[in-house]
Symmetry: C2
Subunit: 133 residues, 2 copies
Amino acid sequence: MRIGDLAAQTGVSVRSLRYYEEQGLLVSTRSQSGQRRYTDNEIARVRFIQRLYAAGLSSRTIAELLPCVDSPTAQNADAAWEQLHEERDRITQRIDELARARDALDKLIDINREHRARLGRHTDIPSAASISR
Amino acid sequence: MRIGDLAAQTGVSVRSLRYYEEQGLLVSTRSQSGQRRYTDNEIARVRFIQRLYAAGLSSRTIAELLPCVDSPTAQNADAAWEQLHEERDRITQRIDELARARDALDKLIDINREHRARLGRHTDIPSAASISR
DNA sequence: CTAAGACCTGACACTGACGTCAGATGCAAG
DNA sequence: CTTGCATCTGACGTCAGTGTCAGGTCTTAG
């Protein structure tokens, strides 16, 4: 599998894939001419990396975590343990933060709805309270 | 109130306050010498801005939303209505994304715990399942 | 064989919310 | 008055992930 194929499969740009390799998140074998070759395993790996990126982990953090996934040993298992929990807590904290921000936005929406009502607007969009959490 | 006081009250750097003004998020009266003066109202305003930043809104988006908060009129109420909902949906989407990422991390934590168990580690940190969502 | 397109490395550009520095001015205390 | 800290403007630096370009090589279809 060549880099363009992997990019197509994962929806990640070729540039990003090369960047991931540069950061030590991804490995590739090379053909004689130096072109990167990947196996199907890398598809899941790239998706996994993307998921961690989406969680706000930096490439450095991901790079520290991945060895534990790849070949868990006593050392990196211990080292990863704390970090995994740290990152998990960070995500939970971030979710709470976003929920609070959403509440603030809901207040704005309420205020706005009242204004619109006073101005004779018809609310044809579901009310804030009815939107799924 | 001078800019340093506002910074102290809100925990936001002086630099950021000037940046907010530059972006049209914050206004200040000026003394004859040109120094910024704020009222107590700005404290809440800055905290509110921070909250929207925390929600991932850009300064441009915030700048578009704030007029509706300050002096709601028919025009900006209508304009803000859709955007408010868009941003709310974005936040909800982001929260879901983070929750999925956290699930992925939980899987890693489980794998890690098993390895540690096999290696005779004692799990003295609450298990992933017991951590509050 | 040849042309087109994929790939290579290396480098610079960009975004956004700031940090930081320089050089000048303001202001309050001793 | 002076000393020292706060403030001013303007400009450049940062970070991280990615876009993009240049100039060259590889591969594959016709």
